[in-house]
């Protein structure tokens, strides 16, 4: 799984991983030295307590001071080095990239609202819980939250950055190679913090553009009778109070946009694989999967539910 801070796939995560290795390495060496010195000190102590006279004692004291002084000086040097290493990595990570793709990510309990910025307002893509980015091009995320503090973390790509209500923060993503990477919320945000995950697809620039064009389309119109029934169930029951499907009257914003729900690989913020049976379970009893989530249990007749899931599965 591409969900590791150590097996990295981007330059930013690599810098952080290298810093991690440096810190762990230095700390490990220091630890070993200290433990050895401790053992040596314990074993040596008995022999060193007896002194012949004052001169010997003073000589021993002087020697001690030299050792302590040297060790302190070495510690300070090591700490300064580590601090400098950290400073330079932080500076590198906070640089604003040029020609970055801008994406606005808004945290909710417990899902990620994603909107791709564009100077032409009608070209802005809106989706949820899943990012698609072109390989090699930096992506600048503008992060904020609608309710409590969340934190955006794609371990293989970049470090953590908080999403704070009333503020915007920013983070940069750069993927070096194509692949699917997963991330999670890294700041406790409520009952389902642990299941607030996201998925990122790093793809070639052509694939990204194709995906973007598809996402700009309005929701696919139902083609079969069952899909039509499903759309009717969608617009007539409680779904439209929270969800939106472009091309229908559903334009609510408190829940994820579902215009292209079938093009996403997971449901419920990375919790379930996206298929019709999971979708049905999610609609009927979301609290069995994520108790405490805002999505309510929706009572539907089995035929209606089947039509609805069929319709949602058609929204590529």
């Amino acid at each position: 799984m591409n969900h590791s801070a150590i097996s990295v796939a981007g330059p930013r995560a690599r810098e952080i991983a290298e810093l991690l290795v440096l810190f762990v390495g230095v700390s490990a060496v220091v630890y070993v030295i200290v433990v050895c010195a401790l053992i040596w000190a314990i074993r040596r102590k008995r022999a060193a307590t007896r002194f012949e006279d004052d001169d010997a004692r003073r000589a021993a004291d002087r020697k001690s001071r030299h050792i302590i002084g040297a060790a302190t000086a070495l510690s300070v040097l090591i700490l300064i080095t580590l601090a400098l290493a950290d400073f330079f990595v932080q500076r590198s990570l906070s640089a604003h990239p040029v020609d970055a793709l801008r994406v606005v990510v808004t945290g909710h309990q417990y899902w990620w609202e994603i909107e791709y910025d564009d100077p032409a307002p009608s070209q802005r893509v809106r989706t949820a819980n899943e990012l698609h980015i072109p390989v090699g091009r930096p992506v600048e995320l503008v992060l904020t939250s609608r309710d409590v503090i969340h934190s955006f973390w794609l371990p293989s790509i970049t470090g953590k950055k908080d999403l704070i209500p009333g503020h915007t923060t920013s983070e940069v993503l750069v993927a070096e190679k194509p692949g699917v990477f997963t991330g999670q919320c890294a700041e406790f945000c409520g009952l389902q913090h642990a299941k607030m995950r996201l998925v990122m697809h790093a793809v070639s620039p052509e694939e990204y553009e194709a995906w973007r064009q598809q996402q700009l389309q309005p929701g696919r119109q139902p083609a079969t009778d069952e899909e039509r029934r499903g759309q009717s169930v969608f617009t007539k029951s409680s779904c439209i109070l929270c969800h939106s499907i472009q091309g229908t009257d559903a334009a609510a914003t408190v829940g994820p946009d579902l215009t292209h729900i079938a093009s996403r690989t997971t449901l419920a913020a990375g919790t379930l694989p996206n298929d019709q049976s999971n979708m049905a379970t999610w609609i009927l009893s979301p609290h069995a999967i994520k108790p405490g989530v805002q999505m309510p249990a929706t009572q539907l007749a089995p035929a209606d539910l089947a039509a609805l899931t069929r319709y949602l599965a058609s929204l590529q």
Binding site: A120, P121, S122, R124, R126, T144, R146, P165, G166, H167, P218, I240, L241, C242, S244, Q246, G247, D249, A251, A252, T253, V254
Partner: protein
């Protein structure tokens, strides 16, 4: 003297006949009659002015009465001639419409149309027409269940009902001629505006910018009620009726399908731009002028882009609806600054030559003078304290917005001036060609605003703003300003405790009338603003005063009292003012209104004794 529209050519025949029959006395009588009628020429011309066929008075929207019986010298003697209780208690914003012998009043919901017989003592009800609009429509009317009046044309009365029907009734006996349903209350649409009849077409527009409604203006055939054309305020050019004739003055208004591309995704389908305000008409240029309201939702972060064609003014061909030009007062509006206020047509000398212009006091607090042939902004000057806009760039026509006052989701921006109801809301101004002043009833208000994400659910409010209003600098909430249009500045102003939510009326006698929300109906000197007379009505006045010559030859001034409207909802809808955001922000600042007035619904008609 009830004759209408006789011209002098018909008088020669009776005279010749009489002489032929013989009889000197009869001949003398005929001559006397002729002389009286001839002398009565100017009077007849004034009798033509005795009608008030549409709320704005005339197509130029001057609200000016040429009658001069009531003057600045004698107005202090004005007395109540008769009153009439409508039987309803919400905001009475309508203007009484007057023909030679009948007065027509449309009440707030349930929009009863009364015809009062002016030629009988006490003006009893000749007939009434009850359209019976759907009661649920009261639940989707943002700003009190008001109606701004009917319109008379060719023996028919036209008006709108709250539940989106335009009705035509016979002006003589009130029987229904046709009714056409035009909108859907389940989408949050209502209709409150007064129609205007231009060349056999009834022009009407919808309301609902606070419900995510897509705005439109529609022309109905006056004889049949069938839709002749409809122009939307957002969406593709073909639906906005933008075609090859469209020549906007400014570059930002040129381009294909801007009504789609200046919105994210399909937000234009819920984009507002309703047409609930005033419509003017220039017969020479054959153009109508109408504004479009705010974009929806109020929260601007949900609709990046200029949001065409909201918060602006269209010039259209009344026969086809084709747009001639458009100017946007507030691109990407941030504060609910609708563009629907009146466009008062006038000819003005600018830089040595006469220009055909109109004056438009906008919600954003600026008084615009715009060339009505091309849409060029000739001048724009603030008539209230404005801190949201630092100026209008005359080259591009765009307002320069103040960055610190921009609403941001999750933040409270304080002291935004003018507030959402603007420097001036719907309440229409009047123009006197004698003084050349524009008499503007308006307010002096600011607000704190917090943008919140708006959740669209069809048929429920789609706003996205928590608002708390307060009085502007000076502490007075209302103002009545006389604006010297040519000079571009105020000549005088009268400060009022409450927003002046009534219309204004200017007369050739040099008197200007307006009403206050406490219920004072005032007459002031048109030149100096000195208060000449006032009368305390039974309830606050938010209606439009009119003047007419009655069948007995006297000049009358008529106005509806009955507090309400958006500013008066605290009383008319009995709100709880402990919540300062009640009534979309008015709750806190109008908490003292109930001490000054209660609900009411009465017509007052005044005349000299």
């Amino acid at each position: 003297m009830g004759d209408k529209h006789e011209d002098s050519s018909t008088h020669r025949h009776p005279t010749r006949k009489l002489f032929e029959i013989g009889g000197r006395r009869l001949g003398l009588l005929a001559v006397a009659v002729l002389a009286a009628l001839w002398v009565g020429g100017p009077l007849r011309a004034q009798q033509g002015a005795a009608q008030w066929p549409m709320p704005a008075g005339d197509f130029a929207n001057t609200r000016f009465s040429a009658l001069q019986d009531v003057t600045a010298e004698n107005v202090s003697q004005l007395k109540v001639s008769f009153t009439f209780s409508t039987g309803f208690l919400r905001g009475h914003e309508a203007a009484p419409i007057v023909t030679s012998d009948t007065m027509y009043i449309v009440t707030p919901y349930p929009n009863v149309l009364y015809a009062l017989a002016l030629d009988e003592p006490g003006a009893p009800v000749r007939w009434k027409y009850e359209p019976k609009p759907r009661a649920s429509s009261q639940g989707v009317a943002c700003c009190d269940t008001v109606n701004r009046g009917a319109a008379y044309d060719s023996g028919r009365i036209f008006f709108n009902t709250l539940d989106n029907t335009t009705v035509a009734v016979d002006a003589k006996d009130g029987h229904e001629l046709w009714r056409t349903g035009l909108g859907d209350i389940r989408r949050g649409e209502t209709m409150t505006m007064a129609p205007v009849v231009v060349k056999g077409k009834v022009l009407v527009g919808n309301s609902g910018g606070e419900f995510g409604v897509r705005g439109w203006i529609t022309a109905l055939d006056a004889a049949t009620g069938k839709i002749a054309w409809r122009a939307y305020s957002t969406g593709p050019d073909s639906e906005v009726l933008i075609g090859p004739d469209f020549k906007p003055f400014y570059a930002q208004d040129r381009g294909k399908d801007l009504g789609v591309s200046t919105w994210p995704r399909d937000a234009w389908k819920r984009g507002g731009g309703t047409v609930w305000g005033w419509i003017s008409y220039d017969p020479e240029l054959n153009l109508i002028y109408h504004g479009t309201a705010n974009p929806g939702p109020w929260n601007p972060e949900q609709r990046p882009g200029d949001n065409k064609w909201t918060a602006g003014v269209f010039a259209r061909n009344p026969d086809t609806g084709a747009a001639k030009w458009f100017y946007q007062f507030n691109p990407h509006d941030l504060y609910d600054y609708d563009g629907v206020n009146e466009n008062v047509l006038m000819d003005l000398e600018i830089d040595g030559r006469m220009r055909k212009v109109f004056a438009h006091p906008d919600r954003n607090g600026y008084l615009y003078v715009i060339d009505r042939e091309t849409g060029e902004v000739l001048s724009a000057k603030p008539f209230v304290h404005v801190n949201t806009i630092s100026g209008i760039d005359m080259k591009s026509g765009r307002p320069t917005m103040v960055a610190e006052k921009k609403p941001v989701v999750g933040k409270v921006v304080r002291n935004i001036c003018p507030h959402a109801a603007g420097g001036k809301d719907w309440q229409p101004s009047a123009y006197s060609p004698t003084t050349r002043y524009l008499y503007i009833p308006h307010q002096n208000m600011c607000q704190d605003q917090e943008a919140v994400p708006a959740n669209y659910i069809a048929g429920t409010p789609y706003v996205g703003a928590n608002v708390k209003m307060h009085a502007g600098p000076g502490g007075h909430r209302g103002v009545f300003t006389a604006w010297d249009v040519a000079a571009g500045k105020a000549a005088w102003e009268i400060r009022e405790n409450f927003p002046v939510w009534s219309g204004a009326l200017a007369t050739a006698g040099g008197v200007v009338f307006y009403g206050t929300m406490e219920g004072w109906f005032k007459a002031v000197d048109a030149r100096t603003g000195r208060e000449l007379w006032k009368y305390k009505a039974g309830s606050g006045i938010v209606g439009q005063p009119v003047s007419y010559r009655g069948p007995d030859g006297k000049q009358y001034i008529a106005v509806l009292a009955g507090v309400g409207g958006w500013a008066g909802a605290v009383v008319s809808a009995n709100l709880d003012t402990r919540d300062v955001s009640a009534g979309n922000g008015w709750g806190g600042v109008m908490a003292d209104l109930p001490q000054h007035t209660q609900q009411g619904g009465t017509l007052y008609v005044f005349a000299l004794p």
